[in-house]
Amino acid sequence: MTSLPSGLPEHVADGEPLARFLLTKRYFSTANERVKAEAFLPPPNLELSVFRICHLDDSAIEALGQPVAAIQSKKLCGWGRVMTAAVRRLNLDLEADEEPKRHANIVGWPTEPDRDVQKGLHKRIALELANEATLVLAPGS
């Protein structure tokens, strides 16, 4: 099996947890402690950026996320933690994409001829992903 610079295998296993780093407070709600669907809407290239966080505790995950935020001149607010299996249950998939180390993309987003219908479909999938996600706030956020 191919090994990546991080030492992780190329294939992202169903049992691996993933982190979607949150760099804006618009993507989560502290009132009901949840990640919002907006955090999981794919960008135009339909590759949603996540990090593989297996074998990392919260402080190591925070250390992984800090440079991601810093390079964008943003503050790391926290992350949404979601399992790979939950992503695949929604007929999406994971592709390892290093560097940076541990980076991967959620891919396989369905397309529709009507741009707005496609947006609605992506919103529905994003709502499902958000439901599967656990909100972890960065210390001091």
Partner: protein
């Protein structure tokens, strides 16, 4: 032309059907005045005042591209105007939604009453709404046209999510 009587008591916002006579124009004008006045009072004092304030805050925060750190498009003034019209078009009695922005520069309005009881509607400047609903075991999504009136089926979906 058929002029539809609009009852203030029931706070119906059903518009008169378009007409061609001067009487029809007069009724349409008065209806627009009345709707604007009513919307003004709802926006200033009703639950939508809260949503308007949140919308303003979101707009200020997302005026610059990459506001989310992932290359999000900025929310433009046309989107802000469309979102304002959306809030004004919400019928009386619907609670204020949560307001956010999306990577493509749309504004989203969400009524969240639990993980399986939620509706999210995106407003863009192209007179189209994209929406998604999770309601118990049911789920749906789609798009609808929006000028100054929210389609009835969308209103019905919002009402079905709100606990009675």
């Amino acid at each position: 032309m058929i002029a539809q009587v609009t009852t203030v008591g029931s706070l119906s916002l059903t518009p008169p059907s378009p007409g061609v006579s001067s009487a029809a124009e007069f009724i349409e004008e008065r209806y627009s005045d009345w709707k604007r006045d009513l919307a003004g009072s709802v926006v200033l004092y009703g639950p939508q005042a809260e949503a308007r304030e949140a919308l303003e805050e979101v707009y200020v925060e997302t005026k610059e591209a990459n506001w989310d750190g992932y290359g999000a498009l900025s929310v433009g003034p046309e989107t802000y105007d469309a979102a304002t019209r959306f809030l004004e078009a919400l019928p009386w009695g619907i609670p204020a939604p949560e307001v956010s922005a999306e990577p493509d520069g749309s504004i989203s309005f969400e009524w969240f009453y639990g993980p399986r009881r939620v509706i999210s509607i995106s407003v863009n400047p192209h007179h189209r709404l994209a929406y998604a609903i999770l309601d118990g075991g049911d789920q749906s999504h789609g798009a609808a046209t929006f000028f100054d009136q929210i389609p009835d089926r969308i209103i019905r979906e919002i009402r079905s999510i709100i606990p009675s």
